[in-house]
């Protein structure tokens, strides 16, 4: 068997824009247990259009690192079930997405929760736990 060259190569990074939304299944899980698996399953996820995934060579089920100067998280990648115009990925609003939100508010008290720039790359690391999001 040949050597797994991928193991020694840094996974390529791509710039993406992220926006956030709400999800009734995630809210349901939040009501019950914000430390539970169900909440994590609905929150630690990024959804992307098929074309963007092809462009980046990523596939559903991949673990990806989302990173910017404010934070770094590992989440699961899923393909959008809808037609997407491309260039934009989606996360349900949660402590995971909030780890990437800028501290810049122009002094006006409202962060850009729905307007996040980050880099995405495939990773073998484990999905970020909620406990590690409390630690600082």
């Amino acid at each position: 068997m040949g050597m797994d060259v991928g193991k020694f190569m840094k996974n390529p990074e791509y710039e993406i824009k992220l926006t956030t939304h709400r999800d009734i299944f995630q809210v349901e899980a939040l009501e019950y247990d914000r430390f539970g698996d169900e909440y994590k399953k609905h929150s630690a996820v990024v959804v992307m259009g098929k074309d963007d995934m092809n462009k980046f060579g990523l596939k559903t089920g991949d673990r990806v690192r989302l990173m910017n100067s404010f934070g770094s998280i590992v989440v699961e990648l899923r393909e959008s079930k809808r037609e997407e115009p491309g260039g934009l990925a989606f996360m349900v609003n949660s402590p995971w997405s909030n780890a990437l939100v800028s501290d810049e508010t122009g002094g006006r008290g409202i962060p850009e929760f729905k307007n996040i720039n980050a880099k995405i790359s495939r990773t073998k690391d484990e999905i970020t736990t909620i406990e590690s999001l409390i630690d600082r």
Binding site: I24, E83, G109, K114, N115
Partner: protein
């Protein structure tokens, strides 16, 4: 029938089946509401410095923190009854503290304008009885206020809308994402780019005065035509719209001024956010971000986000909110360095780092009171199960007594 506190629709038609003093089942609620009636898995216990203690010790320690703070903020409030909110405002006054709620980084900008009467608005009953054009703008009600479409807007019959969505009503979605609400607005979904709402409004304004808009001219003229012809239109302004135009929110006022048959309703998530905004507005003329002193002062520096970012507070009392979960991590480092008092029914991310935790009754389950629905109507909420938890209002009263 009892009231659901799952969101600011405060549905009053919930039936609960009780068994052995607990709730066995709820009926009529949506998935979100049903989860609220099932309650949370991890109830908060009283603690001081992360060590479990009795409630009296926790309250005593909390009062001490409040007394010693020089720059205190009281925050949260959107998940508490009006009665508890009134106590919170009273406590802030007594302590010359700053007070802010979750609307500060949510729908405060719009609710403020509604209370200042800058928007024409209406009740949800008006929507059900009269509305013919329904615009969900940056709002995915299906996932956030899940019975909005079925109880009030798209699907029900109403006095002058006897034929419902099939003939009498038209639902439109304007959004960055094809949300579950947008899917229902088939054929009338306007997808906009991220942060594109302002440009969309400007183009719509051009179309409304008969100019050819620069942006998607054909569909924009079609939308302007529908909106002009509306007998009773409503823009359900969601958080997506608010965030996108937060630096120029009055552009929505200008648009509404061009549409005499339209009403604007901010879509509120937390069940009693509007209640807090109304109470503080009545007391001070502002909906949030106020510091009490000789007279109440409103300033952006009293926004919870700015206060944490600038590290300008030395203690924080939180009632019914989880800022560690809902705020950007990039501004939260200060939370770890000041004493935090957390009043909540459940264990939250914030309660894990709090200096003092005080368990409270869950409103709508373990205590009743009143709350303000997203359209401003006051709704009574009910106590469903007997229990020995103190209510938010009782805890705040005891804190005041302990000062």
């Amino acid at each position: 029938m009892v009231t659901c506190t799952g969101c600011a629709l405060l549905c009053e038609d919930i039936e609960v089946v009780l068994e052995n003093g607990g709730i066995k089942e709820s009926r009529n609620a949506c998935r979100r509401g049903a989860a609220r009636f099932r309650g949370c898995k991890n109830r908060l216990a009283p603690s001081v410095d992360k060590k479990q203690t009795d409630i009296d010790t926790a309250i005593k320690k909390a009062a001490e923190i409040l007394k010693n703070a020089k720059s205190l903020m009281l925050f949260g409030w959107s998940n508490s009854t009006c009665e508890a909110q009134a106590k919170g405002i009273q406590l802030a006054k007594k302590l010359n503290a700053a007070i802010d709620d979750t609307s500060s980084f949510c729908q405060g900008l719009l609710i403020e304008r509604v209370l200042q009467k800058k928007f024409r608005t209406c009740s949800l009953e008006d929507v059900r009885n009269r509305a013919d054009v329904l615009v969900y703008w940056g709002s995915d009600a299906q996932d956030s206020q899940p019975r909005h479409l079925s109880r009030f807007s798209v699907f029900p019959r109403g006095e002058s809308r006897q034929r419902g969505y099939e003939e009498d009503r038209l639902a439109i979605a304007i959004d960055v994402r094809e949300s579950n609400t947008a899917k229902i607005c088939k054929g009338h979904f306007y997808r906009i780019p991220l942060k594109g709402d302002r440009e969309f409004i400007l183009a719509l304004m051009e179309a409304l005065v008969g100019k050819v808009p620069k942006y998607d001219a054909k569909r924009m003229l079609e939308l302007a035509g529908i909106m002009k012809k509306a007998e009773f239109g409503v823009i359900f302004a969601g958080i997506g719209l608010t965030y996108s135009i937060k630096d120029d929110i009055d552009i929505l006022v200008s648009l509404a001024d061009m549409l005499p048959n339209f009403h604007v309703m901010p879509m509120v998530g937390h069940y009693n956010m509007r209640g807090f905004n109304e109470a503080l507005f009545k007391e001070t003329g502002f909906v949030n971000r106020v510091k009490f002193g000789v007279k109440p002062v409103h300033d952006n520096k009293y926004a919870v986000v700015e206060a944490l970012k600038s590290k300008s507070i030395d203690a924080l009392l939180i009632t019914g909110s989880d800022p560690l979960s809902s705020l950007p991590r990039s501004i939260l480092s200060h939370l770890a360095s000041i004493p935090v008092i957390c009043i909540d029914p459940c264990v939250t991310l914030t309660s894990k780092i709090a200096a003092v935790t005080i368990p409270a009754a869950a409103s709508g389950l373990e205590c009743g009171g009143s709350a303000v629905r997203m359209d401003g109507k006051v709704i009574e909420i009910s106590k469903v199960v007997e229990n020995s938890y103190l209510t938010d209002a009782q805890i705040l009263t005891r804190l005041m007594e302990g000062l």
